[in-house]
């Protein structure tokens, strides 16, 4: 969706074009000094982290004595070199020219208020929390309840505010999936508490 601008600079498709919605301005993000537009440095950081993990792996790897050359370490070394080189280029790139994300158009006065972050961390935490809860709970309490909880928490993250209703929809969906996949197609979904471990 947000690639439209980049794809054809000669025909910018205005956000909100043809919609009859008045655009009041653009979202207003807090200035972060040097860090403004440089949050992308996290990408080279992740790349370097993976490279370090791989370097440690290279040295602790147990390679059979009689292995044909080039051995199992050969290709990973190329990847490690590429990861480090690209991370460095990317980091220099971001430090030299900060990259700001496209701001969202504001259609209501409240949209114009200053926001601390581009990312809505609270919403993201709900979505991630739902996944973590699902991973922790699927085996002990089973598919139906844990998936329903995942549904409700994800819906909450994306802006729904009706816990009871969301949970009911989640339960309906997770039970139907259980019926179709576990009962009809015999996919192994943990039944957990609902059928007291039975099927």
């Amino acid at each position: 969706m947000n690639n439209i601008h980049a794809a054809d600079p000669n025909h910018p498709v205005q956000p909100g074009e043809d919609t009859g919605v008045e655009i009041l301005g653009y979202e207003n993000l807090r200035e972060r000094g040097w860090w403004t537009g440089r949050a992308g440095l996290v990408v080279p950081l992740i790349m370097a982290g993976i490279a370090v993990y791989m370097i440690i792996g290279q040295f602790t790897m147990e390679v059979p004595e009689d292995v044909d050359m080039p051995g199992p370490r050969f290709f990973p070394w190329i990847i490690i070199a590429a990861l480090l080189a690209l991370a460095a280029i990317l980091a220099v790139d971001i430090i030299r020219t900060p990259q700001l994300p496209d701001p969202a158009p504001a259609v209501e006065p409240s949209d114009l208020e200053e926001r601390a972050w581009y990312t809505d961390w609270k919403a993201l935490a709900w979505a991630l929390g739902g996944l973590v809860a699902f991973i922790v709970l699927i085996v002990p309490i089973g598919w139906i309840l844990s998936a329903a909880l995942l549904f409700a928490m994800t819906a909450h993250a994306i802006g729904s505010r009706r816990w009871l209703f969301d949970s009911m929809i989640g339960l309906l969906l997770s039970s139907s999936i259980y019926l179709v996949f576990a009962v009809v197609l015999s996919v192994d979904l943990p039944s957990g508490l609902v059928f007291a471990g039975g099927r």
Binding site: V13, P64, L83, W121, L131, A157, I158, S160, L185, D188
Partner: protein
């Protein structure tokens, strides 16, 4: 002629009622996922891949044929009606397609797209039937050095030609390669980067990575921005699709030209149908300006017809390279390759001998899928847009549930769910900082091929790098690669100059 008899046998196995049902179901599901904002055809295949494990391989792949093309139809429906292309290959269709829709010609636009996709896809499918066995024979001349050249070609082309930033494209590619080397090395048996975890001995499943990066990454991105980005689009009303004779006369040459542009890109690995769709759009624009009709910008029917035909022609032809060479051209094809591997099948020249029933059944179901989709989409395209009436929180919460269901169904392990979450976060980070996803998929899928062929080549030459450019085929491949890169650099420089003039 041999191909024709085999194809007829393929129709025989595809036209069984149960398999027809799978095609229909695949078309419906694929279109449904393709229609959803932010989710394109490759997502459709990834999300539905685990759902097919209950089927036998033939049934599963027949269903995939439907999903594969259905996703494309869904992409273009949304591109036209709401200006939200589900995948980069549908961007070129938005320019004139959405303009047609806003000037009250939405039904005509949808019909133009559906017929264009039909013509492109059908032509490609016919060519695949005759070309794939020949390609498979040809590939017996391919040794490790040639396969390495092909893989390198796909790597460089996807990350440099298609991506906006070459560095980001290459970075995404290397991340994919890094994931692909985890697990027990198939040549020496050494454990690589597993940290001693038995769950990692078989490597990180391609299905997990695909669902994580493509689906979960998008869901997390939506969650992180839902309160900031309000939906501003409204669905444009559409009536019965009906093209007048003069509209057909305008669109027909564009459909054919688009198909012609799209076909070769199915065997040249430059990252799928984004390049041909833009080329087809650009060509029509030039023709329009030369003939002095100047309809572009006002909803020119040719500007929609050509990219749609080109996109589907490429997608169809991509199956030839996948089946005959085992080489995925696009992200979607990469997931299909993962699906083959999941069933213990290795696409490539041997597949035609080992599983002829499956291959020809799959090819036959392409034709069936095309016809089913034309019937489904001509009259019902606007109905698909009604899917968006489902409130966004429920839509994405439901997709999240299907993501975890798919991973659980394929792996039955909590460990894979943790991997899903971690790689999903990587997908979010990549989206947040405009890193292209397709190179990662290509690197992940072709990484093992690149590594084994490189090692085999060097092993046979005792480490002499010259072996890589020792044969005519690999030299030609490298020369074409250099030409492609040169063309991309030239096009980029030119497009940089244009806005200032």
């Amino acid at each position: 002629m041999e191909s024709l008899t085999s194809l007829m046998e393929g129709f025989g196995s595809a036209l069984v009622p149960i398999n027809l049902l799978w095609v229909l179901l695949g078309c419906l599901l694929g279109t449904a996922v393709g229609v959803l904002p932010g989710l394109g055809s490759s997502m459709a295949v990834a999300l539905l891949l685990p759902m097919t494990f209950a089927l036998d391989p033939t049934g599963a792949f027949i269903m995939f044929a439907g999903v594969y093309f259905g996703g494309l139809f869904g992409d273009s429906t949304m591109a036209i009606l709401m200006n939200t292309p589900g995948q980069s290959s549908a961007i070129a269709s938005t320019f004139e397609g959405h303009r047609m829709a806003t000037t009250g010609r939405a039904p005509q636009a949808l019909a133009t797209a559906a017929i264009g996709a039909f013509i492109g896809g059908l032509t490609a499918s016919i060519l695949v039937v005759f070309l794939a066995p020949t390609l498979a024979n040809l590939s017996s001349y391919f040794g490790p050095a040639e396969y390495f050249a092909l893989a390198l070609f796909a790597f460089i082309a996807t990350s440099s030609v298609v991506a906006d930033s070459v560095v980001k494209g290459l970075a995404s590619l290397t991340l994919g390669l890094a994931v692909s080397v985890v697990g027990i090395d198939s040549v020496s048996g050494a454990e690589r980067f597993t940290a001693g975890l038995p769950e990692l001995f078989d490597g990180i499943s391609i299905v997990t990575v695909t669902v994580a990066v493509l689906a979960l990454g998008e869901i997390l991105r939506v969650a992180s921005r839902a309160s900031r980005e309000r939906d501003q689009f409204k669905i444009l009303a559409a009536g019965r699709p009906f093209l007048s004779r003069s509209e057909v006369r305008q669109a027909l040459p564009a459909w054919l030209r688009g198909t012609a542009i799209g076909l070769p890109f199915g065997v040249v690995p430059v990252g799928g149908s984004e390049v041909p769709t833009f080329m087809a759009y650009g060509l029509e624009k030039k023709i329009d300006a030369k003939t002095g009709r100047n309809q572009f910008g006002k909803g020119a029917i040719q500007g929609l017809a050509a990219p749609e035909a080109a996109g589907n022609a490429t997608t169809g032809m991509a199956m030839a390279s996948l089946l005959a060479l085992g080489l995925p051209i696009s992200g979607t094809a990469a997931i299909m390759l993962a699906a083959f591997k999941q069933y213990g099948l290795q696409p490539g020249p041997l597949l035609f001998d080992r599983a002829p029933e499956l291959v020809w059944g799959l090819l036959a179901s392409f034709f069936i899928a095309m016809i089913v989709l034309l019937i489904l989409n001509l009259p019902f395209a606007p109905l698909w847009a009604k899917l968006l009436l489902i409130p966004k929180p429920y839509l994405y919460a439901g997709i999240t549930m299907f993501c975890v269901l798919g991973i659980w169904a394929t792996s039955n392990s909590v460990f894979d769910l943790v991997m899903l979450l971690l790689i999903g976060i990587l997908g979010l980070v990549m989206r947040r900082f405009d890193m292209p996803i397709a190179p990662l998929m290509i690197g992940l899928v072709l990484g093992p091929l690149a590594e084994t062929s490189l090692r085999d080549a060097l092993l046979s030459s005792n480490g002499d790098l010259g072996v890589l450019v020792d044969s005519g085929i690999s030299i030609v491949l490298y020369l074409v690669l250099i030409a492609v890169i040169g063309f991309a650099v030239f096009a980029r420089l030119r497009s940089k100059k244009q806005p200032s003039s």
